[in-house]
């Protein structure tokens, strides 16, 4: 055992080279994935901090300690930072980068240099976003509706430019992943043997590729409105504010599927590996990812039922929106069915996966109320919407991220995390999340509008509960990240395959060598073919 440990310690890994240059100019997809991971986590904390501040203000009616102007800046930055720098890139660019090539049996992505370029574009966009604060922090909401955002000036221009550059990063990554999956699969690795995480990233990349350019042009035009005074979206200059909304949501609706599809892929992995059972309904799940990606492109108008569209448009968009519920429901049934007759371990990743299923169910079901023409008129732009999207973006996507992080931590660093503290972090995340956001549904139904710095005192009780929940989430997130950082440096040595997974990443050493595989494998079994001993 001692000898074996010594041998393991001597193995070459992708972490060996320690110079700064070897990180900043790396072509190794695993290192690029880690750089994305840490950059996003920093902004996760910043965006979360902003929420803690304005939730504290909102705990009581009347002004507590921040002015409405500051509140509006905080909710704008909270949304913009968390959406563009955290949720969209997190699972695909961090974990996707690390694991996609390994899962298809390749040594790297199709275009490693473009991958590095993607990261630096991402970093540039992030820096520009911060730089824009020097010109007056934006307060337009992350949705930038015109004409409010059309005449703000240099700060909106710089933010538009920043997000445009972030979009370029997203597009190049999507392109890289698609070519990788098509061209670099190891011999024997047919589409039917791909892990569902790969299917999910593939579907996400398709959406990234096709939707992001439209955001690019929309924000470019918005930036030009602010810089040069062109008036496409400002009625005072002959423009149309509703046109902005169409162009904006044409991207931003598919964007939410960029945020959730990778999470779906993660859950398929976690549920099957931690119940040591094949995923139920592989082909239905793979097909549903593609179906959701496709349907996601034709429903954007459901954000605009009270914005000035014709009734025919309203009806068509509502009808089409309902179709996205079917493939989504199918996934939920399949994950649940995977548990049947499994051998379920209550590891932290499994807890996050189970939490995901419950929370995503609520998030998805509340979407039905918003797709509904009758109820949406009442619920649009109220706290109900805020509750809905936090359940799917945080309760689902962020939970999937944490589950994935702990699931793959042993592989990325060759170390195990502290199970007890990770579970404590999960507990605060789960309880805190429900306490913070379930009240939002009730508030919205009662008529409480969103983006309000203050509210009539009659709404107070639920706001207070929500703020307490926010603090719990902060505790849970900090504990979880502390467990992660501690494990990275001081965790106990983990075996190469602590969970008994069957996809290719579990066949190579932990941490992996730079070239991933000593020899490119010839694949004969599927990723969920768990074997009897």
């Amino acid at each position: 055992m001692e000898a074996k440990l010594q041998e393991i310690e001597k193995r070459k890994t992708y972490l060996d080279e320690k110079s700064l240059k070897s990180w900043l100019f790396t072509l190794d997809h695993k290192r690029i994935g880690l750089m994305y991971l840490f950059t996003s986590l920093v902004f996760f904390l910043v965006g979360g901090l902003f929420a803690i501040i304005f939730r504290t203000e909102l705990a009581f009616p009347g002004k507590q300690f921040i002015s409405p102007e500051v509140h509006n800046i905080l909710f704008t930055l909270h949304g913009a930072l968390l959406i563009f720098l955290v949720i969209i890139p997190l699972i695909p660019s961090a974990l996707g980068n690390f694991f996609l090539p390994i899962m298809v049996g390749a040594r790297d992505v199709a275009f490693p240099r473009i991958n590095l370029l993607s990261y630096w574009l991402f970093f540039t966009g992030a820096v520009l976003l911060l730089l824009s604060l020097l010109f007056g922090p934006i307060d337009t909401g992350w949705t930038f509706y015109t004409p409010y955002s059309a005449n703000k000036g240099l700060n909106v221009f710089i933010v538009s430019l920043a997000i445009f550059i972030l979009g370029m990063s997203s597009i190049l990554t999507g392109m890289n992943f698609i070519v990788t999956v098509h061209k670099l699969r190891a011999p024997g690795l047919t589409w039917g043997k791909l892990p569902l995480f790969v299917w999910a990233i593939y579907a996400t990349s398709l959406v990234q590729l096709l939707a992001t350019p439209v955001l690019g042009i929309t924000l470019l035009l918005l930036g030009m409105e602010n810089l040069l005074g062109i008036g496409f979206f400002d009625p005072a200059k002959g423009g149309d504010p509703v046109l902005f909304q169409h162009l904006f949501w044409f991207y931003s609706h598919p964007a939410v599927y960029i945020m959730i599809l990778p999470a779906f892929g993660v859950i398929s992995e976690l549920v099957s590996v931690h119940s040591r059972k094949p995923i139920f309904g592989y082909w239905f799940i793979a097909a549903s990812s593609l179906a959701i990606a496709f349907i996601g492109f034709i429903v954007w108008g459901h954000h605009m039922f009270v914005a000035g569209m014709s009734p025919i448009a309203d009806i068509i968009f509502s009808f089409l929106t309902y179709f996205v519920a079917v493939p989504t429901a199918v996934k939920i049934f399949n994950w649940t069915a995977t548990l049947y007759k499994g051998k379920i371990s209550f590891t932290t990743p499994m807890l996050y996966a189970l939490g995901f299923i419950s929370l995503f169910l609520i998030g998805g079901l509340t979407g039905l109320f918003l797709a509904n023409l009758g109820t949406d008129i009442h619920l649009h732009d109220t706290y109900f919407v805020v509750g809905h999207f936090h359940y799917v973006m945080v309760g689902a996507a962020v939970f999937a991220f944490f589950g994935a992080l702990f699931h793959w931590l042993p592989k990325m660093f060759g170390r195990m995390y502290n199970e007890k503290w990770a579970k404590i972090g999960w507990f605060f995340n789960f309880v805190g999340f429900n306490l913070a956001f379930f009240p939002h549904f009730i508030l919205g139904i009662q008529g409480m509008p969103r983006r309000y710095w203050d509210y009539p005192a009659e709404f107070q009780g639920l706001h207070f509960a929500s703020t307490v929940g926010a603090y719990f989430i902060a505790l849970g997130a900090l504990i979880s990240l502390a467990v992660f950082i501690h494990a990275m440096f001081k965790g106990e040595r983990a075996s190469d395959n602590p969970w008994g997974g069957k996809s290719l990443e579990w066949t190579i050493p932990s941490p992996p060598p730079t070239e991933n595989f000593e020899k490119i494998p010839v694949v004969e079994e599927g990723p969920y073919d768990f074997v009897k001993h």
Binding site: D240, G308, F333, F346, L354, I442, G447, E458
Partner: protein, 362 residues
């Protein structure tokens, strides 16, 4: 306190259709939520891995008939939910009869203006207090007859706002450069809160209003009042006083009406100005010298003002008029440039009245 436990009171005729769609969606969702969570709970208990067991679970990878069934069932159910939503939407969008009355609503940063076809006008403003507010602080923006269909034509003079009456279940954006329409029929008399529901800047959360639905007799009285009399009296009064006046007996009302004539004629411009100022200006400008968001009016007229850029100006009639219409032009030192413009909200006569009132505050 009007807050309901969940859905607000159904105050409009079509609200019941919205609530039907809501509850059907809710119960179908609840059924699925319970089934899935129950299944998960049962499975994780029954199929938990026992200590030392390294064997995999059963190699069940799919069941095509089952998967097809549970694809078809949700597909059918979503059509059901869609249908009830469409029904409610149709009720909200398309009126069964022509509206009896049409009111023009203009949104602005940060308040509302309502105009009737005969010239009656109501304006609500921004509640800029630091202290907390309740729905009792909301001012009426429209008077409508209970039991009759009313149409609102919405627009904005600056950015996108949205007119939302939760108790009616109706909402639509007020968009600059175009007109949008909503209609409703209040089931019974009452006060129904209005919220701006499209983020419009700093005071988005503090431009609330109220719909005042009146019984037929009271609404008749409102209709018959000549516009300028209404604009100078009821339009500026607190809700309790409005009800008090509208509920007077015929004789008393005649007396009040006549008295209003006389009162109005007798009322000095300063007194008329006071009424308007109490409603639209007092939240920022005190009349008694106390500190506020804007400079106090006590002793303002005729004084020398020191502006933010150091210049000095005399606070005469022109200065005050400019401050009302183009408040950004001259900012007094020590104050923020946050005053909204009242261009288009106040008539020349009202502006003169306000100036006279300010003059009276020595």
């Amino acid at each position: 306190m009007w807050i309901s436990a969940l859905l607000p009171e159904r105050a409009s005729d079509y609200a019941v259709h919205v609530d039907t769609a809501f509850w059907i969606t809710f119960f179908l969702s609840l059924i699925f939520f319970v089934i899935i969570n129950f299944a998960i709970l049962v499975f994780i208990i029954k199929y938990r891995r026992r200590k030392g067991d390294e064997e995999p679970g059963a190699p069940i990878s799919h069941n095509t008939p089952l998967e097809i069934v549970w694809t078809i069932i949700p597909t059918i159910l979503i059509f059901v939910i869609f249908w009830f939503g469409f029904k409610a939407y149709a009720e909200i969008k398309w009126m069964r009869e022509k509206p009896k009355y049409e009111i023009r609503i203009t949104a602005r940063q940060w308040g509302w203006t309502a105009e009737y076809s005969d010239g009656k006008k109501l304006i609500t403003g921004t509640i800029k207090d630091d202290r907390f507010i309740t729905t009792k602080d909301f001012q009426p923006i429209i008077f409508v007859p209970a039991g009759e269909p009313v149409q609102l034509v919405l627009t904005s003079q600056d950015v996108i706002h949205s007119f939302y009456v939760p108790e009616f279940r109706v909402k639509y954006d007020a968009i600059p450069g175009r007109y949008t329409k909503i209609w409703f029929q209040a089931k019974k008399p009452g006060e129904y809160e209005v919220f701006c529901t499209e983020y419009c800047g700093a005071w988005h959360s503090r431009m609330p209003a109220k719909v005042l639905a009146l019984p037929p007799k009271q609404f008749e009285r409102f209709l018959k009042l000549p516009p300028d009399k209404f604009n100078n009296t009821l339009a500026n009064m607190p809700i309790d006083s409005i009800y008090a006046v509208l509920n007077l007996s015929d004789e008393e009302f005649e007396k009040w009406s006549g008295a209003q004539e006389k009162l109005l004629l007798a009322m000095s411009p300063a007194e008329r100005g006071k009424l308007i100022s109490q409603r639209l200006c007092q939240s920022c400008h005190s009349f008694d010298g106390s500190q506020g968001i804007g400079p106090t009016w006590k002793g303002l007229f005729g004084s020398e003002r020191i502006l933010a850029d150091g210049k000095r100006v005399l606070a005469d009639e022109n200065y005050i008029r400019e401050s009302i219409l183009q408040p950004g032009e001259k900012i007094v030192k020590g104050f923020q440039p946050v005053m909204p413009s009242f261009q288009g909200q106040l008539s020349e006569e009202q502006i003169s009245d306000i100036i006279e009132f300010i003059k009276s505050l020595k």
